[in-house]
């Protein structure tokens, strides 16, 4: 052995008595975007990992300090871009809480439909990518057309697909058209069979089970200590769900279960996400039912009657001077917000997405902080992959559902 190796502290039982440093990412296909993991390998076994977030800092929180409410909305869409409407609705719910705006029931149900669709889109991409990372490409291709269908529904609702910006304070920019409802019904009709098929591909698949069971496991106590929420926490056996503990947007009227795992490993996280997609379908069905049961004025209201915060209709803006002035006043934040300090959170696709908002009564927030679940999960990565194999690290990463946009603030 040369002198150089005498100074290296080697783990007991090393074969070659030497470790390798490997930079996993940012250019590795499984570590898209900003993730860099400097991994210390003994053979294929990981002895140490050092996770870094790259420099994509977009200064959202700083920008938000100079912008009125409506101009912050496009920023929130870009946090978790796999489920942009969820972030969007969360932001508008926060604003409504601060401003004391009460939304009509129909808005709540429409929001729930959109939010649950976004949750399904988020989960199906995560679960299918997990299959890809384990070497199974078929499932990914199979469910992808239904993510496409969800995007089509968004397109019917607001005109855009990825970063939707569809909400307004008090409701929606426009009412859902008939095509949107038809497409939602089509989704409800066809997706269960697809999801069943997707589950059949994976859940009892020997290779997939061997690759994921017992990999990246975390106990309930550790998960809580690490600030895990959403499917990652529920996989460890804690049935914490913001939709139940702090219902928003009339979630308390809905009947759904919270799928929980027991071991907190990759397999449980996968299963919890699949279970949640079934529950989301249930919720959407109930919401459609409730929408049909609404009567009279309630059945048509797609926004609250708050002209001081809700933007005038585009048709009026283009033809009436007063509407144009109001539009301008609202967008430029000429109407002051009430003073206050609040923390509002929603159950986003991958956990509790929180908005901590300090208003000093001015036109833009004094301080706005986003609690981004992905940022909080990633710090546990080092612990989760330690003593595992290199190939497991990829699966741990995809099973945590890390979205690069949420790392940043």
């Amino acid at each position: 052995m040369s002198d150089i190796h005498q100074n290296i502290n080697l783990p007991a039982g090393s074969i070659e008595k030497q470790t390798t440093t490997l930079n996993l990412g940012p250019t590795h296909p499984a570590t898209h975007g900003v993730f860099q993991n400097i991994i210390e390998l003994d053979g294929e076994k990981i002895v140490k990992a050092d996770a870094t977030v790259g420099y994509i800092h977009r200064a959202f929180e700083k920008i938000a300090e100079r912008r009125p409410l409506y101009q912050i909305t496009p920023l929130t869409d870009r946090l978790n871009y796999c489920s942009a409407p969820l972030n969007n609705m969360g932001w508008h719910l926060t604003c409504e809480t601060l401003l004391g705006v009460k939304t009509p029931k129909r808005v709540d149900y429409l929001r729930i439909i959109v939010m649950e669709l976004a949750r399904i889109a988020d989960h199906l991409i995560c679960s299918s990518i997990m299959g890809v990372d384990a070497g199974a490409y078929t499932g990914f291709l199979y469910v992808m057309q239904y993510r496409e269908l969800i995007y089509e529904i968004y397109e019917e609702i607001c005109g855009s697909r990825l970063t939707t910006n569809m909400g307004r304070i008090g409701g929606f920019e426009r009412d859902f058209n008939d095509t949107a409802f038809q497409k939602i019904e089509k989704f409800l009709r066809e997706y269960p069979a697809v999801l069943k098929e997707f589950e059949n591909l994976f859940t009892r698949n020997r290779i997939f089970m061997e690759r994921t069971m017992g990999v990246g496991a975390i106990s309930a106590e550790r998960a809580l200590n690490y600030g895990f929420t959403g499917p990652n926490l529920r996989a460890a056996g804690v049935d914490y769900d913001v939709r139940v503990t702090a219902p928003y947007s009339s979630y308390e009227e809905f009947d759904f279960d919270i799928p929980v795992g027991s071991t907190g490993d990759c397999y449980d996280r996968f299963q919890v996400r699949n279970g949640e997609m079934w529950q989301s379908l249930r919720i959407i069905e109930q919401a459609m039912q409730k929408l049909n049961n609404l009567k009279g004025e309630e059945a048509t209201a797609y926004h609250a009657d708050v002209p001081e915060y809700y933007l005038p209709k585009k048709k009026d803006v283009y033809t009436k001077m007063e509407a144009l002035i109001w539009h301008f006043k609202i967008i430029m934040g000429e109407i002051d917000m009430p003073k206050g300090e609040l923390y509002h959170s929603i159950e986003a696709g991958n956990g509790e997405l929180g908005y901590y908002f300090i208003s000093d009564g001015g036109r833009s927030p004094y301080r706005l902080h986003f609690r981004r679940p992905c940022f909080i999960y990633y710090q546990a990565f080092e612990e989760l992959v330690k003593d595992g194999m290199l190939s497991d690290a990829i699966l741990v990463m995809s099973s945590l559902n890390l979205i690069a946009g949420e790392m940043d603030a």
């Binding site: 200064a59 929180e61 600030g227 206050g340 609040l342 901590y356 300090i358 301080r367």
Partner: protein, 187 residues
Amino acid sequence: MAITNEIIQQKLTDKFGDQVSDFEVTFDTLSFNANKEINLKVLNFLQEDGLNFNFLTDLCGVHYPDRQGEELAVVYHLHNIKENIRVRFKVFTDITKPDVYTATGVFAAANWMERETFDFYGINFIGHPNLIRILNVDEMDYFPMRKEYPLEDQSRTDKDDEMFGRGGMLGFGTEKTVHGTIAEDEK
């Protein structure tokens, strides 16, 4: 017995006396301020002693330039998941000596949140295992979320008004000016 905001407030004042202050309930959440010397004691006390706040939801910094001697604040959001009650508390620190004890020993979740707060506000968390910048480049020598740094660099001339059809000057905005935009009569 369910925990209420009044019980939490009572327990805290019994234990810490006037070291905790400014109790307030905003949007159903109890918030208060604590001395920065006892931030870990407060965290531990809230976690144990029957209060069972076992979840650190959020940790972030705030800059209040107007508060003499306590310009920087660290905000903790804790959650008792079982009883479903949240609490928020702030510790204030002097901007010239921004030292606060780290909460990483109590909550593993605090690790990166404190690094982020250090990165943005320069709050020095004493005892943090790896207090380096996380979102910004390491070479940065200032803390960008503080209020003294406005959003756009005022010295930049390529963002001069004349580039956007207001004013109008030769040289396409490359001239160095003292006050930013050149006034109409000086042109």
